[in-house]
Structures are given as C-alpha cells and as structure tokens.
C-alpha cells in the first residue's frame, strides 16, 4: 500500500477510503466526498486552473461548518449588512475564511462573476474581504454565501467598523490633496523657471504678467484645496492658547502668499508663489507618510475581529429537551440566552460550559497549538474553535464587554499615543515659535524707526527662515527611514516609540517556547525494545498516529514518513483526550500516548532506561503487556538563537530567560546559550514582578515573546517584540513583529537604533543652529524673503539627506 494524498486539501487519505475522479485523464484520489464534490464543481465550472496556480494547502472541507445561511435573508438582518447603491443594485462586504494564496481569490472571483445577478466583485487579499455588488431581485444573499461555500470557503457578511471607514475616507482625501499639490508644484516650478534667470525687464511686461497670472492662479488653487488642514489646526491651537508648528506654517503661507499678491499687483519681482506651493507639497508628503503608518496599525487591530462570528445559534430547552432553536446576531445575545456551538464552529462569546466535556482550539488567542480540554463549568474565551462534541454555552458577558472587544478598545486607545521624542521636539518647536514671534515683534519695532518700508520683508524673512520645519522633520524622517529599512529585513515596527527606545535598552528578556525554541515538536530520540524490528515498530506507530489530527500526532506522520511506510489497517480506533490513541492492528491491541495512559494498560518495567524524563515530552507505544518503544520529543532551539544571542552579548546587554515552563529544559537551554539569568515556572504575575524589579534598578527592557501569557509583560516593557508565528493578540499588543522569526535581527535593530539616535541628534543640532543664525541675520534685514525660502528648503533638505544615510546601512 502506498500513501495517497487528497487532490483538494492535500491531507493523507485513510486506508479504507476509495474516492476518486478522473482529471486530465489521470486518476486522482480524495479524502472525503466533500472534497470530491468541490473538485467536481471547480472542474465543471472550468476553473481547474486553480489547482495549477495554488501555492498552499486549503482547509479540509469537512472542517468547514455548514452554516445556516438563510438567516441572512430575513429583512431586518439583511439591512444590517447590505447597502443600496444607485441603479437598484445592492452592495455587501463578505469576509471569507480560508484564503491562503492568490489562486484562492482567482477561483472565488471567477466563480462568483459567472453567477447571474452578480454585477461586480472585488477581493482584497490582505484583509480576506470581498466586496460584491449584486441584484437582490435575481439572487439572494444566502445563495451568494452558499456559492462560496460550494468551492470550499466559509463566508459571512461583514460590517465595516466606523474607524475603518473613516480611515479609508481620510486616506482618499489626503491622497487627493497630495496629488493636487504635486501636480500643481510641478507646473508652477516650470512656469517660474524663467524668473530665476531673467527679471521683469528682460522678459517684457506682457509675458511677465501672463506667466505671473498663472502662477497666481495655481498658488491660490493649492492654498484653497490643500492647506485647510494646517489652517484648521492653527485655529484650534489658538483656541487652546498653545502654539504649534501649524501656527507658524499657516502664518508663513499667508504672509508669503499675500506679499506675493501685493507685489504682483504692483509689478514688483519679489514674488514667491512657487515657494508656497513647494512648501505645501513637502509638508503634505511627510504627513501622508505618517498617516499610512497610523492606518496600518488600525488595520492590524481590526484583524482581531476576524476571530469572532456575527451569528450564533440560540436554544431553549426544558428538561433537557430542546424545544426551540434559532439564530441570533451576536450583538443581541443576552446573558440569559443559551448558545449552542456545533463542531468546527467558532465560539461566539466568552462563556461557561454547560454541556459535558469538549475540546477547543485556542491557538488563535494563546498560540498554543495543542487542543485544550474543557469540562463542565469551565470558562471559554470567544474566538476559539470547538473541535469535538456539541458545546452548550452560557454567555459570561455581552458582546460589547467580551474579552476580544475590550482588548480591541484598549489597543485603539494605545495606538493614538505619540512617541515621546516626537512630543519633545513638538514642545521644543512650540517654545521656539514663541521666541520667533517675540523677536519678530522686536524686529518690527526696530525697523519701524529705521526703515518703515522694510518691515514686511523682514517679517516674512524671519518667519520663513525661522520656520522650524527642519526641526519638525528631523525626527519623523529619520524614524521613517530606519523603520523602512528594518521592516525590509523583517523587523516590523508597529509603535513609533520603538526606535528612540532601542538605543538605551539594557536588558533583553526572552520567553522560551516559541521564542528561543520553535513552537512545534521534533522527534529527537527513539528507543525500541530489542524484541521488535525497528521498521515494524515505526509502521505500527505511523499507522496509529496518522489517523489523529492532534499536533503531536503530526510529528510522527512528518518524521516517520521518510522510511518507506506500510500502513496497517487499524480497527476500533479510539482517541483519548489528553492521553493518546488506541487501536487494534493485526488482531492485537496497541496504545500510544503519555506514560499515565500506558500505565493502566501494561506493566512498566525498568528495562528501559528512561533517559532524561524530567523534561521534554515522551510518547510511549505499547501492547497489552509491555512497552514497545519510547519516542522522545523536544522543542528544538531556533536556528538563529545561537548567533542572535551571541551578537546581543557583544552589545553588552544583560540577557534573561523568563518562562512559564517548569521543566528542566530551561536549565539546559540557558546553559547552552550561556544566559546567566533564568526564571522558570513563572506565572503571568511573576513575569510582571520580575520586569518591574529590573526596571526599579533602572533597566530598560526589551521583551521577546509569542503568546497570551506574555501580553501583560509586553505592556510594561519598553519594547515588546512578538515573533512572527505568534497569535494576532500577541502581535497587536507588541511594539514590533519579527516577521521571519530571526533572532539575529534583534542586535541589528539595536545597532540601527543607536545609529538613528545619532542621526536624530545631528539633525536637531543642525536645525537649531541654523534657525538661530538665520533668525539673527534676518533680524538685521540682511536676507531677502527669496533667499529665506531657499535657506529654509536647504536646511530641510540637509536634514532629509542626512536621514537618508540610514537607508544605506
């Protein structure tokens, strides 16, 4: 017998299953009728290309639950999801689970497009959402969802959160303004070019007037359409009696503009329309980049929402007989309701288990891949998946108070807090603005007595020269450069304060499992009783474990697969929760699992020397009287751990391991990596306490972790780094995501943080010196506004170029 793999979902097909289809004149096998139906459907719809394009495996069909889609056709419910547009068409956004690569959305798009009644479909791969415009008279919403289900994906309607919609509108508006100012500035620079070479007398009055007129129109147009934000901000800050950079920006814009208008009417050459336009363009550009970063963070936060569903089945019963069963929107569920969760469904709300035992997959929240066993009266977090037995649940809280909703609210608040160094420079510049305004006042008095006609020129020069643009740019541009270069290598910074904190980190704390080690098991050692033939034992274990979906079982199907396998027929196969598996092969009963599970089954003798059983995981294979084999599984260290740790040591940082794992393996790992400080069996509170103690002694802490139990520690450490494999929740509460799980990047990031710090300091020093000297010279009336504009742009450019050096490293 050889191994067969399902053509659709790439799962290994069990021995006794014989389902096949003839595709491209070849026989292809499937694991279940669900997959067969889907393949047939896809091929019949002439969408078979999907199987050529796809890069990753899709979800097994049997794991997708059959939802009751008809609920979405009810009048009051459909109104929540569907909006009517012009032409009597309806628009709906659908969230699709199970999209893994671009072939998936190719398939969905081509299939949905071919349905009568569908007008348009757009799929966004990164958010897994599809926007569909359809005719409600021809096709029902439930039929659309059903069609997506037919090709193997689970879909449900989605309502955009207000913040997402607002972000989208803001993005579009800012993009429009940026485009206008870019095109406008290009035009105006072309038109003004001649004035840099010739003056009024050379050009001739009629041409001069004509070109200047168009300059005037473009500048006016740009100020009206693009500068409203600065002016509004300035107005607001005036109301609050503070000075911001926007105050001085708006003042400069208006002064330069009106002076130019005045000189234009008097046919004088001191006209600076082009300067105003470039000024606006550069300001908009830097703010646009900043906005993109902000929006990216909100998107990350809302990806948490994917975990929850919006419909739940409510039951009513008396004396254990279900008398009524209906669907309800999750927002409307009351605490008095009783929820029923089918196998494979997402648990809609936090709740207490009322039914008997069940197993849930909490991996999307805790990162723990091993399913968790829950018994009656246990607490379940909304968002996990029910794997076995029908689950009956009593809600613990309303949806608006549920665990995930609250986390999202906290994160929303946090994402709007600005990094400290940006706040400091803003503060410095607001003092600076005050100084500028005061000195302008004195300059005006001075010039009033000396040369009345020069007042306006001096004022404008001072305002422009002293505009702390370079100061305002100095920090954000350096941070943007480093952020980009680090993101390219896989160190994705989510919160902006990271770069300034990186340079003064003193202590680095690692979680163990999933951080220093990988988060899956690998077979390290095997011991087989001398009575048995090795390949026979392997085949026995393989045949037993291949039937289970448990992550530990997968270790066997992966590791033993290389040695030409023969699969035996397993009869009476049974899986024991939290213990192991059992089955009859060739008339003999075998068990495979934990020691306690084997104990009740056969006697344990001391013939096996139980290597270092204190730590790590051991799986036993036995028949009804003796142990046949012991498999020793470990979490191996990550490939990058050694080098990464050594690099960090070169930077003179204190390293710690802080883990919840009580086993001996922590000692081994810390010895291996030569890390002095380690603390095992640490609860969440212990972790907090440990970090707080270090911080009391002045330590600045970088915490690297991957799971739910690190989240609180993340919050109090200066920099929280989540591994790329960690849960969405951990990623969102962290400041940095290590996309490729490469620990070497930590030292690289710290080095680049120190370098960035240096560049920022250079920038600030330059900006301050320039501004003070410029202010002084313009006070004396030695600078024309025209040169002031060049000077200002030059100083900003210098700051930008200095920061661009960061991109080289």
């Amino acid at each position: 017998m050889y191994l067969r793999i399902c053509f659709h979902c790439n799962l290994i097909i069990a021995n006794d299953v014989n389902i096949y289809l003839i595709i491209n004149k070849k026989i292809k096998y499937m694991c279940c009728y669900g997959c067969k139906e889907i393949i047939k459907f896809i091929i019949d719809s002439k969408l078979g290309n999907y199987y050529i394009y796809r890069e990753k495996n899709v979800t097994n069909v049997e794991k997708i639950s059959y939802n009751n889609y008809e609920i979405y056709d009810k009048n009051d419910i459909i109104k929540k999801f569907v909006t009517k547009n012009s032409l009597d068409l309806y628009e709906v956004t659908i969230s699709i689970n199970g999209i893994v690569c671009s072939a998936c959305f190719w398939l969905i798009e081509h299939h949905i497009k071919s349905i009568i009644g569908i007008h348009k479909i757009f799929i966004n791969f990164s958010t897994s959402k599809a926007q569909i415009i359809f005719d409600l008279k021809i096709i029902k919403l439930s039929s659309i969802l059903m069609e997506i289900r037919k090709i193997g994906y689970d879909a449900y309607p989605y309502v955009f959160k207000i913040k997402e919609t607002l972000d989208n509108i803001e993005y579009k508006n800012e993009l429009k303004k940026l485009i206008i100012s870019a095109i406008g500035s290009m035009q105006i620079m072309m038109l003004s070019f001649s004035f840099y070479l010739y003056d009024l007398n050379d050009i001739g009055i009629s041409y001069w007037l004509f070109i200047r007129l168009f300059n005037f129109i473009i500048a006016t147009f740009l100020i009206i359409f693009c500068s409203e934000k600065f002016i509004l901000n300035a107005y607001r800050s005036l109301k609050l009696k503070t000075l911001t950079i926007d105050t001085i920006i708006s003042l400069s814009i208006f002064m330069i503009y009106f002076l130019s208008v005045y000189n234009f009417l008097n046919k004088s050459d001191k006209i600076y329309f082009d300067s105003v336009c470039m000024f606006i363009f550069f300001l908009l550009l830097s703010r646009f980049l900043e906005m993109r970063v902000r929006h990216y963070c909100t998107k990350l936060i809302y990806s948490l929402q994917k975990l929850t569903t919006n419909m739940a089945t409510i039951i009513k019963y008396n004396n254990l007989n279900i008398i009524k069963k209906f669907q309800k929107n999750v927002d409307d569920i009351l605490i008095s309701d009783i929820i029923l969760v089918k196998i494979g469904d997402i648990v809609p709300l936090d709740g207490i288990v009322l039914s008997d035992d069940c197993i849930v997959d909490e991996s999307m929240i805790t990162g723990e891949k091993i399913p968790i066993y829950k018994k009656r009266k246990d607490f379940i977090i909304g968002g996990c998946i029910n794997l076995e037995n029908i689950l009956i649940l009593k809600p613990f809280s309303l949806n608006k108070n549920s665990f995930i909703t609250i986390i999202i609210q906290i994160l929303e608040k946090m994402s709007s807090i600005k990094p400290k160094i940006v706040r400091t420079t803003n503060k410095i510049s607001s003092y600076f603005i005050l100084i500028v305004l005061i000195s302008i006042f004195f300059a005006d008095i001075y010039w009033f007595f000396k040369d009345c006609y020069n007042i306006l020129n001096v004022t404008i020069s001072m305002l422009t020269v002293a505009c702390p643009c370079a100061l305002a740019l100095s920090v954000p541009i350096a941070i943007t450069c480093s952020t980009n270069i680090l993101a390219k290598s896989g160190f994705l910074i989510i919160k902006e304060h990271v770069l300034e904190s990186l340079s003064n980190i003193t202590d680095v704390i690692f979680d163990k499992t999933g951080t220093l080690t990988v988060n899956y098991f690998v077979l390290k050692e095997t011991k087989i009783s001398s009575k048995y033939n090795m390949s026979y034992v392997f085949n026995l274990s393989y045949s037993l474990e291949i039937l289970s979906n448990h992550p530990i079982a997968k270790v066997f199907s992966k590791n033993l697969i290389l040695k030409k396998n023969e699969i035996y027929n397993v009869l009476n196969y049974k899986e024991y929760i939290n213990c192991g598996v059992e089955g009859i092969i060739n008339g003999k009963k075998y068990r495979m699992g934990k020691l306690n599970f084997i104990k009740d089954f056969c006697k344990i003798d001391d013939k096996f020397d139980f290597f270092n059983f204190r730590d790590d995981l051991c799986i036993f294979l036995s028949n009804d009287y003796e142990i046949i084999a012991i498999y020793h599984l470990i979490n191996p260290l990550r490939y990058s751990s050694f080098k990464g740790i050594n690099e960090l040591k070169l930077l003179n940082l204190n390293l710690h391991i802080l883990t919840g794992d009580p086993s001996y393996s922590t000692n081994k790992i810390s010895k291996n990596l030569k890390i002095k400080f380690f603390f095992k069996n640490a609860s969440i509170q212990d972790k907090l306490f440990y970090i707080k103690k270090l911080q009391k002694n002045g330590a600045k802490i970088m915490m690297i972790g991957d799971g739910m139990n690190d989240i609180l520690a993340f919050k109090i450490s200066q920099i929280a780094v989540a591994m790329g494999e960690s849960t969405d929740l951990a990623k969102i509460s962290s400041d940095v995501t290590l996309l490729n799980n490469n620990l070497l990047l930590l030292s690289k990031a710290i080095k680049s943080g120190i370098y960035t710090d240096k560049i920022i300091k250079q920038n600030i020093i330059w900006a301050v010196i320039y501004n003070i000297i410029g202010l002084f010279i313009s006070f004396l009336g030695l600078i024309e506004p025209y040169y002031a504009v060049i000077g200002m742009s030059f100083s900003s450019l210098l700051v930008v170029c200095n920061s661009l050096r960061l991109l080289k490293k």
């Binding site: 671009s102 791969f125 579009k172 429009k176 485009i179 072309m190 004509f210 168009f214």
Partner: protein, 50 residues
C-alpha cells in the same frame, strides 16, 4: 515667443485633466489595494483542460 499665450493655458488644461483623472482613479478605489492586483495578470485562464 507669443506661442506661450497658447501653450501655457494648454498646459493648464492638461494639468486639470491630470488632476481630474487622478481623482477619478482614487474615487474608483484604484489606490485601495496596491499589492494584490499585480498578481492577476499572472493568472491565465486556459492552462487546465478537462
């Protein structure tokens, strides 16, 4: 040189046309998703025969 009396207004019209088309593109969600659309072109429709 008097040609500029024609060329400048003409470039002006082009500028507004450019702005108009950019606006139109933004309003039609052309800039919403800059990552995935590029993949579409790689997907042909006729590689697979039944």
């Amino acid at each position: 040189m008097s040609i500029i009396f024609f060329l400048i207004p003409f470039s002006f019209i082009l500028m507004f046309l450019a702005i108009y088309f950019f606006w139109w593109a933004v309003d039609n969600d052309q800039f919403d998703n800059l990552d995935d659309i590029s993949k579409y072109i790689l997907l042909n429709d006729d590689l697979f025969e039944k």
